[in-house]
Structure formats: structure tokens, C-alpha cells
Subunit: 754 residues, 2 copies
């Protein structure tokens, strides 16, 4: 395995190496980046520290694989930090062009922009609601058709005793549908796999996830929950001003909120979800816009669904996933139950930690075995439907359920897991057999664990709720049987709800947003306090053993994720130790040839360059006067903004901000830009284009302080200067994400090229 | 009026002038700061721009008043920015002592600290809950006693025809109780007046409100809603480490959340409230702690109230202020009602703007007239109880209500406004006479408008809800009478709820947190969407005419409040124009006499001093090497940390962080520290104590960029340097808060000494 690690020292060079536009996958195990190219191109200048746990044999394998043309994922290691992820520019590039534009803009202009933002957010909400509505109707219709077909089949074959034929037919039907979906996902847009939440988390954190915000993704991920995609979409085409990472990020937040809002009918929960993930960049105006998107999304969904259900205008029963309303009287809880709830929370935390641990091992195991899509499919179709005898409601095709939930494939697609959750919450006491519930929990636990993170768009929310509801109900039943007379307060539905919250909380470790989502989805505030307690307990207990599922998967992908604060025990580190150095700097007026050479250097692949007054020959630090990005240089080169000194044409071609925006976000690679030998001799004046006031820190600044600045402002490059304002280093995301707090104090992740 | 304004130019000197420990009030109109002293002391070095609208006659008056000994509020002007408020140090002072301590601390040490934080937050929640419980029981008991006394009286006098005597007795009784409360508040702790929300807003924004976080305040403000006070309390005594503004701020957030949580039984709403106010300093771990405090607070309150109500252990009916649960079936809403809701939102916005405008004029008017406490009292006792014929529930003393709501004083204290809101929400259609409702709305509107901001601890929440509920119900009744058959969906209770939300939203302009608070207080999620819509509309409409009530009062107090972003059209301003300059700098090793002189200079009253390598004689800028605060210098002087060069004793007395913490937060004034003539000749080495890595910006940085850095990191001083890292200016809160976006583009507030 090509794991060119970088020893942590302040002589390391790499800051940000992104192979932009590459088809590398993010969070599914079915792909591999083109290792061989990176190996030959990028390996040479790095100090090869030590190879990771995976040995050379695998390196050859992946080399071969890449020759076969299908990109493939490298074996994951959570002790690595990948260099393949770029950061997003969440800090405005305040160069002269930008400032001039802002200064030209009138007060009314800003008002219009603000209104546009609201319009875009409204649009995001509207589209998300529409998509959610489409999914809901499609699933319902599909289930209806399948029901008719199979029922007809069964009736036909039962007479001639050929029930098994219809069973096979049915299984084939289901598998092929799932297979079809999986193939679409795996071949066209691997990013669309998984629940989408880790990707959104990373994106809001400031890590560039290739193509997470593109049209193609949208089309494939229509079946996904999080529709933040729409944000990025609506933006670029209509409003030119919004063509920057900063604006895009805000719209993605709105999309994430709208998605959750539509899924659970939880507009406030959606906003809180977006906040919990995108915390540090938050502000109040943005919150309101996000809230607006959230609201519109739920509203749209409800409106169209009410028409579909022939109750036009009835908006009081919101959400795609609805747990059914709990009536307050029947489910009041008592003080004596609080300890029970807390115990359930602890169980949820334990089970969640177990789930995450198992999933972690499975992910590693699966990746090493290089299971192909069709193999995973079998498991997936197993997973979707082991609903046992629960479906009592809409499609009463119970004949197969007598076999128990082992024949889960048989009941496939007749009951959505959501409906199962609802019956577990609301069915009368005595509906379920404790043994069935126990076996169901066990089976479903392992299946859900196995499937999360596979190539199919499947989340962890609903399966977790289902597992939790099952063991929660079991808990309630056992409780009622122990306290024979106490059956009044041990309503199993109540315990199913608490169990569902505990299990989900134990797995994903969200607290505030999840509480609100649960409350909004159940339509009853009474349970706010117990749900909170349970989620808190689950989080505390779970965190003791293992991280949250999303965090595990983010780590497994070696994403340079910045947490909210620097590790507590990192005060002894200063910018001097953390920064990358020496830094490739550019002169304010630089030779075109030099720029092309620097950009073409695949071994460094720097994305940001401090601009200095005069680079000295002896590599001594020079005075900082600005910062310029690779993407800007590319645009400058493309438009040949050169000063030909020889002919004393000192005026550069005037470039507008529009030229930069037009190139956003797919800046061409340097290789595609042709620069003649004559042009190489020209000069380029960067003064107008560089950010003249980049944030800086002195060398002695402690890591927590650097971290705080970097995180709070969403920076991509932070220049380290000495006391004469000369550039001595550059801090990027990887330099900070490298440190993390393990069980034994501060640990350092290795930085890998892939 | 002594309005020494400072023209905006980059030669202005003042950065932060705080007369710490002064008994100046914040948001009530009954006090005046000692103008005369400030006039003579601070006026001299300021360029006297132009006097404000208030003329010299008043100046003399206030001068006389200050001689009378009672501090008094100056006439307010929202175009001013007062220099009397200090900032809080929300940025850690990372000096050598601090870093050494942090480095010495083990991983376990940090764990313990983290656990302590949780313990403190739990304690805050618990105490808040207890206090809320105490208030609730006290109010209930008091009302019961009064009911008994008066009923007895009435029965006695009705026979002899002396009903008027009992009426007078009763009115006197009530007035004296209110008067007693008002006197306590006004004389002992003026900060406790008002709803407390603007104060908390300012505190979380980073403005030091004297004594907002002290024990005495707590005792007086027991009757207030926001208990964030407790945060500051618990901290200093128990955990020495928490003796800094940063930690304190976090606990205050927790307290604010706990307060709202207990008041409305809305733990999530409480957290959101704290977030909306303290946005920029937010992080996830903190949110969880705040959530925890919120939860504990509601829990404690419910637990003790359930015991008080003889239903121990029944926790499902939370909150001090409870609007009663809406049953879902009776109140489902329809699509056709959405436009109606939006119209109601718009009405709420309009009425809210009117309310705020009136309140604004009244505040100014009242302050100019210098109404004394007893005068306001009459109005206050008028205000508390004009509840008309609504009290049908607990104390059926309806005989006075026949007189209609004009005799509002008569029904005083028999019905809490909260109970009235509840009856407006839930009583059967037909209970209320439309005319009564209309008159009630009108009367109560003006009374509430008049009383907000007076010297008694009274909020705007409940009165607003009451007004809104009244006109909302009126709206519903009218609607039902128009659509004769439509009486099914025009349930007046529903419209009362919407009206209450609209009115409150129109006045305070909160959205997200208010939605959640309303939902949690009504116990029904169904109304989430309409409430959101209504609050949004109310905010948009209201903002068009007038700011929110809290913002108005913050502005009237000339508090240097930093909004979330710099004004949109401020890109043409740079740090150079904004900063204060020249800056008083200190040498790394400075003469004690110089330090004492600088600190004693009442005309500047600087609070932070850049430390430079060597101050040149000609006032030329010198290289920055650190930043030190007045409070630190005071502690150093107090402990006589001097180096006597003459005797070549070069070792300073070793000072610990503990010495600084012991002095926190009441650092003695410089006048109280005696420095002998010999000592004045000594030197002081600041190296160990200064923050060696202060944040800096270059001169060319645009105002929005400076603003973002300042706000995101909660700074107090931001050093402006040139390209050689030499100090050329200093940006403080006032320099940034000065610019705001008015109706005609960017406006500049004048900076006043008072």
C-alpha cells in the first residue's frame, strides 16, 4: 500500500495536496484512487517515514487494480491523515478587486443580495420538500404495486401448491430493484452512498468532498435524505455573486436543515442539526435563513402529501418519517421511571458503542477483502426487510410472517422500517411476543451494523430506531411482567420510544438536535425531558467506549476534520512546531515561468502561496505582503495577465471578479494551460489579486490559540511570521487536524499522500 | 447634558474608559451617573464635537442631582456610544504563567476541570429551578392569603354597604407590596430592574455590566426570570481555575438557558435563547453543558412543584409559566388558515413596532421628566392587573369584574397574567365579549408600553402574550361571526395563541428560540409551523418600521453592542481609519513611575497596553512584542513586583497565576495603590505577564475583516501593526460598534464619555 507518510517535523513541506476532480470515493469501500500515478508523481520528495501496517504486497495489488481502470479505496487507517482532501475557502479573499466591488455596491445592492439569499433558501426548502414528497409517493406506489403483483401471484400459486415459486419471483424482483439502485450509485456517483451525514459534516467543517455539491450527485442521491446538494446547485447558475465557498457553505447548511426537516417533519430539529454540525461559522441572520428553508421544506412536503392523500390543505401531520402522535394522557411518566430511563440510556450507549465497534471492524474487514458490489447486495437485500411479524397495518400479507423474522427477505418491501417503528410505538400491549422481539433485535442489530457504509444509499437513523424500539418494547414488556400490578405505567410503547432514542443516541451521539427531532417526530413535548436524559446518558456511556459512528467513518477515511477545540494538553506546542516550513513564496511581481513551475510541481501541490516583498536568493524569510491561491493563479495564467517588460507594455489585461467566478468551482489543472517560452519570460503583477491582509500569527503562538483562530474564521492558510513580519511558515488544516487526544494523552496522526 | 463626543478620526485617543464599580444603572430610567466628576476629569482631552439635542440647562440639573448624592441616569440618545462600559476579556491572556500552568496540567487534570464544569452547570440548573419553584410557591401562597383576607373583608363590609372601604384597603395593600418591591430594587440593586434580557444580551456580547453577576443582584433579582447570576456566583469561590471572563461567560449562558427553561418549561427553548444571544462564542461542548443546566433546572422545578401540589413524582407538566396543553384534535389547522396567520403575523409586527416606538418615546420622555419611583408605582400597580372579567378559574371573586376592566386595580393580584393568558387560550367560544376584548387590548397595550423599563423587575414577555392573546381571540371571534358556518375552524383559542405569538414576536423579534419556547409551553408540536410563520412575518414587518425592544433599550443606553456582522457598506473603511491612535505603549522592561502615571491618567483610562521592544522618544511606532491589561499591571503594582536596578537585585518577586485570580474580578483602582518615590524609580519586567502573542491586523485590513476577527474571537483589544510589525493603532469595541447601518446608509455614532 502506498502510504507515504510524512514525519511530523517543521521541515515538512506538504500543506495541501489535492488531486482535484479525481474520481476518488469518500466513504464507501468500493473504490481506489489512482495510486500508481500518485506514487510515481508524489512520492519522491517526501521523507518516507515508515510504511503503515499494510505491507508491500498490497501495494502491488492496488497498483494492478488501478491498471484495471476501476479506482479503488486504499485500506483505511484511522491513525492516518489523508492529503487528498482539499480545504474550502471559508475566508473571503479580500483582494483589491473584491474590495472595489464591495465599495461600488450601494446599500440597495446589499439589500438585494440579502433578499436573493432568502429566495435561494426558500428555493432550497421548496425543492427539498418536493423531492421528499416524490420519494414518499414513489415508495408508497411501488409498495402498492408490489403488493398487488405478489398477492395476485400467491393467490394463483397457492391453489396449485407452488408458493415457493412466487417467493422466488418476489425475492428476485426485490433484489433486482436494490441491485439496480446500487449499481447506479456505485458506478455513477459513489459519493451518494451512505447516509450522507458524514459528508455534510466534513463539508461544513471545511473539507472539500469532491462533487458532494453537484448536479449529478443530486440526481443519484434523490433517494438520499440530505438534500443540501440543492444549495450548491441553485447558487452558481443564477446568482453570480454567490460563487464562493463562503456563500455555498451557507446554502449547504440550509439544505441540510431542509433535508432533516422534510424527513422527520422537524423544522427546528433540522436547524439544530445544521448548527451542531456547522457550529463555528454560525451567525444569527444565517440561522434565520436556514430556519426559513427548513420551514418551507416541511410546508411543501405537507402540502403536496395532503393533496396526494386526498386531504388537501390538512397540514397538521408533518414529515416523511412520522412516528405517529403520542397522546399525552396515556403516556405520562412518573419520577420512579426516570432511573429506568437512565438505565435504558446506558444500555443504548453500550449497544451503540458495540455497534460502532463492530461496524468499525467490519468496515476494515470488508475493505481488505475487497468485496464487490454484487456480494454486498445480497446482504443489503437481507437487511432492508427483516421486519418479522410486525406489519399489521397497511399490507396485511401475513402468511409469510408465520415463519418468523428469519425469513426477512420474504417480507421485503411490504413494510417500510418506518411503519414498523410506528407499530412498535403504538400497538396495544400484548401484540408482540418477547422472544420474537429479542430475536429480531439481535438479527437486525448485526445486519444494520453490516450494511452501514456499503455502496447503497442507506442511513443509520431508521435501522437504529427500529432496533431500539424493539429492545425498548422488550424492556417494557419484561418490566410489566415483573411488576405484575404495575402494568399501568409500564406501557410498552413508551419504552419502545425511549429505547429507540437510546439506541440512536448511542450510535450517532447527537444530543440537542436529536432531542428536538424526536420530539417533533412524535408530536409530543411531554417526552422532551426523558428523551434528553436518555440521550445524555447514552452519549456519556457510549463516548467512554467508542466514538460516534459518523466520527469513526470520518476518521477511517483519514479526513482532516477539525474538532471544536484543540486537544486540551496541547499548550506546549507552538506555531513553530506545527507549521509547514520552508514555505514556497511568490514575489509581488513574479516571473510567469516561476509560477508555472511552482504550480506544476506535483510533489508539493501547494494551494496557497504567501506573497512577499522580495524573495531572497538564500531562502531567507522575506516580508509578507499578501496571500494568493492556486485557483487565482490558474485564472491569471489562463487569461494571460502578463506584463511584457521587454516591450514596456506595463499595463496588464484588466481582469474582473467575474472571470474568477466563471471559473469557479472547477478551476482547470495547470497541465491544461499552455504557456509559451516567450510568455514564461513575462512578469505577472499579483498586487491586485492577492489578499493583501491575510491573517497572521507569531511563531510563539500556542497551538490552541492558532487552532481557535483557524477554526473560528474558517481559514485555509494561516501565515506564521517572525517579529519582523517575515514569512517563516504556513499552517494549514492538516497541520492542526494531526493532533488528537487519545486514551494516553496527545497523539499525532501520520500524514499520508493518499 | 454633558455629551462630550469624539469626532471620528484616526487621531482619537480613547479606547476604553470604564469607571468600574460605579453605581450607574443600566436600563432603568431612575438613575444618573456622576456626571460632574466625569465632566471635569474626562472632558478635557476630548475634542468637543457638538452637543447633543439636550441643552445646557439639563446639564446643570444633572450636575445638581449628582450633588444630591443619588446617582441618576443621563438623558439617553441612541446616536451616542457610551464610554462608561468596559469590555470583558473573552480572549485568554496567554502569558508565560498561563502557558506554564496549562503545560503542567495533566490529561487527568483537564478531565477533572471538564467534570467540574458539568458540576457547576448542574448546580446552576438546580439553583435556578429551586428559585423558580420558590417564586411560584410564594406567589401562589401570597395570592391565596390575599384572597382570604379580601374575601373576608368583602363579606364583612358588603353587609354594611361599605364595599368601597374594602376596595381602598385592598388597593393600599397591593400598592404597598409593589412599592416595597420597587424600593428594594431601586435602592439596593438597580440592575435587577427590567426583564434582565437586555443585560444578559450585553453581557454575552462582551460588555461589562457592573454587578450583573454578583450575589446581591441574585438576592434582589430572585423575582426576575433570568438566573444567569448564579453562574458567576458558584464559580469564583469553589473553582479557582474558573476565575476568568471566558469561563464566567459560559456559566452565564448556562444560567440564562436554565432561567428560560424553568420559566417556560422549555429546556430546548432555553438553550436556543442562550445561543441566539451569545452566538459567536458558541461551541458544541458548551451547548451540551448548557443543555444539561437547562434540563436540570426544569427537572428540579417540576420535582418540587409536584411535591407542593401533592402529586409527587408527576413530572409531565413542566414550567413556571404554562399555557395549558392544546389537544391536537380540537385545534388542527387548515391550509386556508395560513394566509390568516400571516396576516396576524403582520398585525403583530405592526403593533410591535408601534409598541416599541411608543416605548422609545416614553422612555426618553420619562427620563427627561425624571419621574420618581413613587410616581411610576401608581402606573405599575395599574399595569399589573387590568385583567377584566377573565379570571374564571381559581379565585372566583368576580364581583368587581362587573365593572369591566377599567377597574383593573380592583382585580389586582387575584389573577396572574399567566392565568389570563391560559383562559384566553382555552376557554370555550362565547366566554368573552368582543368589546371587552378590544378595550382590554387597547388599555393593556398602553399600560404595558408605559411600564416596560421602569424600576420594578418586570418583563415584557407575559404582558405581550396577554395583549396578543386578547386581540388574537378578538380576531378569531370576528372571523367566526363573518363566516357564520365556519365556526368550526375559527376556534378563538387557536387565534388567541397565534395572536400572542405575533404580538410577542413583533415586540422582541426573536424567531427560532421563541418558536421553540412557545411550542414547549403549549405542549403541542402541531402549531410549530404556524407559530414559525407568524414569528417570521412579525419580524420582517416589524423590522421594517422599528428595531426590537431589547435593541432599542440597548441603544438608548449607548451600550457599545457588537452585532453579528459589520455593516454591509463598510468595506471602504480600513483599520487605519477605525483604530485609535497614537497608542500608549509600554516597554518590555518599564519604569514603575511611568506605569503609575499612565494608569493614573484619568483622561485616557486605557485598559490595554501594547508592549513594545523599545519606545522611541519621538513617538515613532516601535515593534510589538506583547499586550498587557490594566488589571494585570494593577496586580503587579500591588505585589510590588519591581526590579531595583540600583541594587542589582534582578530577580523579581515570583508571582503566581493565583495572585491574579484572587484579585479577580474586583481589581483595585490605581489610586488605592501607594507607590513610594523610591519605588517609582524601579523597573518592572513585563515579559512573564504580558500576552506575548496578541492578535494583530495590518493597517489596510477592511472594517468587515477586522470586525469578523474581533467578534469571532471575543477580543477586547486588537493591535494594528504596519508591515514591520510596529504598533500603529489599537482597535477596541467602541471603534467597531460606532458604525451602524441606518436608513440612509452607513452612520456613525458619536462616542461620549458617559
Amino acid at each position: 500500500m502506498a502510504n507515504i507518510s510524512k514525519k511530523v517535523s517543521w521541515s515538512s513541506r506538504a500543506e495541501e495536496s489535492g488531486v482535484a476532480g479525481e474520481g476518488t470515493s469518500l466513504l464507501n469501500g468500493s473504490e481506489q484512487p489512482r495510486l500508481s500515478r500518485q506514487l510515481s508523481g508524489g512520492g519522491s520528495i517526501f521523507q518516507i517515514g515508515r510504511l503503515s501496517t499494510v505491507d508491500l504486497e498490497e501495494e502491488i495489488t492496488s497498483d494492478e487494480d488501478s491498471l484495471r481502470g476501476r479506482p479503488k479505496e486504499i485500506p483505511h487507517n484511522e491513525k492516518l491523515l489523508s492529503l487528498k482532501y482539499e480545504s474550502l475557502d471559508y475566508d473571503n479573499i479580500e483582494n483589491q478587486l473584491f474590495l472595489e466591488e464591495e465599495r461600488r455596491m450601494s446599500y440597495m445592492g446589499f439589500r438585494c443580495l440579502e433578499i436573493s439569499r432568502w429566495v435561494v433558501c426558500g428555493l432550497i426548502g421548496f425543492l427539498t420538500g418536493l423531492i421528499a414528497c416524490f420519494i414518499d409517493i414513489a415508495v408508497e406506489e411501488l409498495a402498492g404495486i408490489k403488493y398487488q403483483v405478489v398477492k395476485h401471484n400467491i393467490e394463483k400459486f397457492t391453489e396449485v401448491g407452488g408458493l415457493s415459486i412466487s417467493l422466488i419471483l418476489w425475492a428476485v424482483l426485490n433484489s433486482s430493484i436494490v441491485m439496480f439502485g446500487a449499481i447506479i450509485v456505485a458506478f455513477f456517483e459513489p459519493i451518494a452512498a451512505g447516509s450522507g451525514i458524514p459528508q455534510i459534516k466534513c463539508y461544513l467543517n471545511g473539507v472539500k468532498i469532491p462533487r458532494v455539491v453537484r448536479l449529478k450527485t443530486l440526481v443519484v442521491k434523490v433517494s438520499g435524505v440530505i438534500c443540501s446538494v440543492v444549495g450548491g446547485l441553485a447558487v452558481g447558475k443564477i446568482f453570480e455573486y454567490f460563487r464562493r465557498d463562503t456563500e455555498k457553505r451557507d446554502f449547504v447548511s440550509a439544505g441540510a436543515a431542509a433535508g432533516v426537516s422534510a424527513a422527520f417533519g422537524a423544522p427546528v430539529g433540522g436547524v439544530l442539526f445544521a448548527l451542531e454540525e456547522g457550529a463555528s461559522f454560525w451567525n444569527q441572520m444565517l440561522t434565520w435563513r436556514i430556519f426559513f428553508a427548513s420551514m418551507i421544506s416541511t410546508f411543501t412536503l405537507n402540502f403536496f402529501l395532503s393533496i396526494y392523500h386526498n386531504k388537501p390543505g390538512d397540514l397538521s401531520n408533518p414529515g416523511l418519517i412520522n412516528f405517529g402522535r403520542f397522546e399525552s394522557d396515556s403516556v405520562a411518566y412518573n419520577l420512579y421511571e426516570i432511573p429506568l430511563f437512565i438505565i435504558m440510556g446506558a444500555i443504548g450507549g453500550l449497544l451503540g458503542a458495540l455497534f460502532n465497534k463492530l461496524n468499525y471492524w467490519l468496515t476494515i474487514f470488508r475493505i481488505s477483502l475487497e468485496l464487490d458490489v454484487s456480494f454486498t447486495m445480497i446482504y443489503f437485500s437481507n437487511d432492508c426487510q427483516p421486519l418479522g411479524p410486525e406489519h399489521t397495518e397497511e399490507y396485511p400479507l401475513q402468511l409469510f410472517c408465520a415463519d418468523g423474522e428469519y425469513n426477512s427477505m420474504a417480507t421485503a418491501f411490504f413494510n417500510t422500517p418506518e411503519r414498523s417503528v410506528r407499530s412498535l410505538f403504538h400497538n396495544q400491549p400484548g401484540t408482540y411476543n418477547p422472544l420474537t422481539l429479542g430475536l429480531f433485535t439481535l438479527t437486525y442489530f448485526f445486519l444494520a451494523c453490516w450494511t452501514y457504509g456499503l455502496a447503497v444509499s442507506a442511513g443509520v437513523f431508521i435501522p437504529s430506531l427500529l432496533i431500539g424500539a424493539a429492545w425498548g418494547r422488550l424492556f417494557g414488556i419484561l418490566l410489566a411482567s415483573i411488576t405484575a400490578s404495575g402494568s399501568i405505567w409500564a406501557d410498552p410503547g413508551k419504552y419502545a420510544l425511549i429505547g429507540a432514542a437510546a439506541q440512536l443516541g448511542g450510535i450517532v451521539r447527537m444530543t440537542l438536535s436529536l432531542t428536538v427531532i424526536m420530539v417533533e417526530a412524535t408530536g409530543n413535548v411531554t417526552y422532551g425531558l426523558p428523551i434528553m436524559l436518555v440521550l445524555m446518558t447514552a452519549k456519556i456511556v457510549g463516548d467512554y467506549f467508542e466514538e460516534g459512528l459518523y466520527d469513526i467513518h470520518i476518521k477511517l477515511q483519514s479526513v482532516p476534520f477539525l474538532h471544536l477545540e484543540a486537544p486540551a494538553t496541547s499548550h506546549w506546542l507552538t506555531a513553530r512546531e506545527v507549521m509547514g516550513s520552508p514555505v514556497t513564496c511568490l514575489n509581488r511581481i513574479e516571473k510567469v515561468g516561476t509560477i508555472v513551475d511552482i504550480l506544476s510541481n506535483t510533489s508539493t501541490n501547494h494551494n496557497g502561496f504567501p506573497v512577499v516583498v522580495q524573495v531572497t536568493a538564500s531562502d531567507e524569510p522575506a516580508k509578507l505582503c499578501g496571500l494568493i491561491l492556486r485557483s487565482q493563479l490558474i485564472v491569471l495564467l489562463k487569461h494571460k495577465v502578463f506584463v511584457e517588460l521587454a516591450r514596456s507594455r506595463l499595463t496588464q489585461r484588466k481582469l474582473q471578479l467575474k472571470d474568477f467566478r466563471d471559473a469557479y468551482p472547477r478551476f482547470p489543472p495547470i497541465q491544461s494551460i499552455h504557456v509559451s517560452q516567450d510568455e514564461r519570460e513575462c512578469m505577472m503583477d499579483l498586487t491586485e489579486f492577492m489578499n493583501a491582509t491575510p491573517y497572521t500569527v507569531p511563531q510563539e503562538t500556542s497551538l490552541p490559540r492558532v487552532f481557535k483562530l483557524f477554526r473560528a474564521l474558517g481559514l485555509r492558510h494561516l501565515v506564521v511570521v517572525d517579529d519582523e513580519n517575515r514569512v517563516v511558515g504556513l499552517v494549514t488544516r492538516k497541520d492542526l487536524a494531526r493532533y488528537h487526544l487519545g486514551k494516553h494523552g496527545l497523539e499525532e496522526l501520520q500524514v499520508a499522500q493518499t
